[in-house]
């Protein structure tokens, strides 16, 4: 069976993933996002509506329904703060779009703190029509960061696998599910996509050779190399924080053990030495630890060890099945999958005080992936017999479901890094 490696080419403009919001955080900041003056010039999807949808999807904001505003305010308008306060807004976004002589457009916005009655800043962007979504995401990132103190993830991308019948596709979409592009199409399964820290490459496992093989795929030109195709199985790739090393699970020396190698497949070094299954390696963000799943104690639990070698320490102690370790971006927490009364759910452990909280109440959760700001976790689950993705806030309160718009099962999500 052959697989087609493709460079990311602009493909269908329609959303490939549909998003449905379920659940809500207790306190959502009410924000007024006024239509931008002149935004109709950019096309049918209003830039202000994309900003609105982004902020709502974060679970931390409630976009207010606004009456018609005559005239439409812009970033240059004097703001009547008490009037906006009476509309129950805590914050206000206003802006405008104008055309430039060179055929491009200028989008400007300003963010106001209605409570403190002060402007918090604004930016002007030079853009083309096909950059509407990207520009809106940057505006939403700015608003999010000013109002929460955390970096927004609206400009990030997600990778995932869609299975339709006997066809598998590794796709990459914007964090809101739009603009999906196919990096790999195959008649055999694809699992474990892993973003390089610079967001330019994906490592993944493909079964196109009737056995698992690790590839490293360059997203810009669609070229890929085999990183590991040793005798036996090759799987579970994970990038070191500096992007120079891949940790993988290989069975070439018997069993399933963790090795380090260069992304080009050279310089292979074994680092676990057990007769158990040691797999699912994940680096901590500071590079000091390699977390992994091992059943050396009888059932699968999570351990960690220095990537340079050393005695692993056990990390999970509650329950008999703990797998898929994912350190949070700030290194303070560990997300993983735990089997709780027969149900596979997402657990979050505070690495300092060891407290564990189960943050989902579904049944067949897999493959948790932190957003790069640590505020949301994307995971695969099955609802109504269908594979789809779920995004849950780190406290478990806010949830969304992302399903394949054109049918099929979605699985194996991986949230991409911040792109500077």
């Amino acid at each position: 069976m052959f697989a087609i490696g493709l460079a990311l080419a602009a493909s269908a403009a329609r959303a490939q993933l549909q998003i449905e919001i379920t659940g809500a955080t207790e306190k959502r900041t009410p924000v007024a996002i006024a239509p931008f003056a002149g935004e109709a010039a950019l096309g049918p999807t209003a830039i202000s509506s994309i900003v609105r949808a982004d902020l709502e999807r974060s679970g931390l904001f409630r976009a207010l329904e606004l009456p018609p505003l005559n005239p439409t305010p812009t970033e240059a308008s004097t703001v009547n703060y008490p009037e906006w306060r009476s509309r129950l807004a805590d914050a206000l976004v206003v802006g405008s779009v104008s055309s430039r002589p060179d055929g491009r457009y200028e989008a400007r916005f300003r963010l106001h703190d209605v409570v403190k009655q002060t402007a918090l800043g604004g930016i002007a962007y030079t853009m083309t029509k096909d950059q509407v979504r990207a520009t809106a995401h940057r505006i939403a990132d700015f608003v999010y960061e000013k109002l929460t103190g955390d970096k927004g993830v609206f400009s990030t991308r997600i990778a995932y696998v869609v299975k339709r019948g006997n066809r598998y596709e590794l796709q990459i979409a914007d964090a809101d599910g739009e603009g999906a592009e196919t990096a790999l199409a195959s008649f055999e399964p694809i699992i474990s996509p892993a973003w390089s820290p610079d967001g330019r490459r994906l490592a993944y496992v493909s079964f196109e050779n009737k056995k698992p093989v690790v590839y490293v795929h360059s997203l810009l030109d669609g070229k890929r190399n085999v990183a590991a195709n040793f005798r036996g199985s090759n799987s579970a790739p994970a990038w070191s924080p500096d992007g120079k090393t891949l940790a993988v699970t290989l069975s070439r020396e018997g069993g399933s053990q963790i090795f380090l190698l260069n992304p080009d497949g050279s310089n292979v070094k074994r680092i676990t030495t057990s007769s158990a299954i040691d797999t699912e390696p994940r680096y901590s963000p500071d590079g000091k630890w390699l977390y992994f799943t091992s059943d050396r104690g009888g059932t699968p639990q999570i351990y960690r060890m220095p990537p340079t070698g050393g005695e692993p320490q056990r990390v999970t102690f509650e329950g008999s099945y703990n797998v898929s370790p994912r350190p949070s971006p700030d290194g303070k927490q560990l997300a993983y999958i735990t089997r709780n009364s027969g149900k596979f759910q997402v657990a979050l452990q505070d690495l300092e005080n060891r407290q564990v909280q189960i943050i989902t109440d579904s049944d067949r959760d897999e493959s948790p992936s932190f957003a790069p700001n640590g505020r949301m976790i994307l995971l695969a689950t099955v609802i109504g017999g269908r594979g789809l993705l779920s995004a849950v806030s780190a406290d478990g309160r806010f949830k969304q479901r992302l399903s394949a718009a054109t049918g099929g099962d979605v699985r194996e999500p991986a949230w991409g890094p911040f792109i500077e």
Binding site: S192, G254, T279, S324
Partner: protein, 186 residues
Amino acid sequence: MRAYYSPILVTIAIAALIAGCSTTNPEGTDASGAPVTDATKKPGAGAQTGPIAKIDVTKPGAVTGADPRLKTGALAQRSIYYDLDQFDVKDQYRSLVEAHAKYLRENPSAKILIQGNTDERGSREYNVGLGQRRSDGVKKMLVLLGARDNQIESVSLGEEKPQADGHDESAWSKNRRSDILYSGEY
């Protein structure tokens, strides 16, 4: 000439030929130099005088009659099934493994791929590890029975290629398996 006879008949034909050589050729041997009937010029003349049947032990079925390409017979059974969380070869599958081991022993150039599989529950990557344990177990038994290590590659498909699509024990029990594939099948 390719032998189309079954191994038993071939063996009898050889024995007959050998027996024939040790007694007087019924077509007549003339010590004075009269020509001996050239049996090779009479194809299909019979077991005693026919052409020498060639035995080609590099071809499947030459020795044991077993051919992995056949849909029936000793090598047609290719799958070993497992209980939950188990990876040892249950007694009921030992004769299956022995048949494949015998074939590998007797056909040193033959190679196989063993793919281990799991049911769908749990982490996909941990299931790749569990499937590997299963295929490794089959390989180990084959090697103990005389197959050579370099004839066998053991890999895992984890939960990714189920035989049955359901979400209950009836389907799961069909998916916890190792499959044996011969060259040309992978």
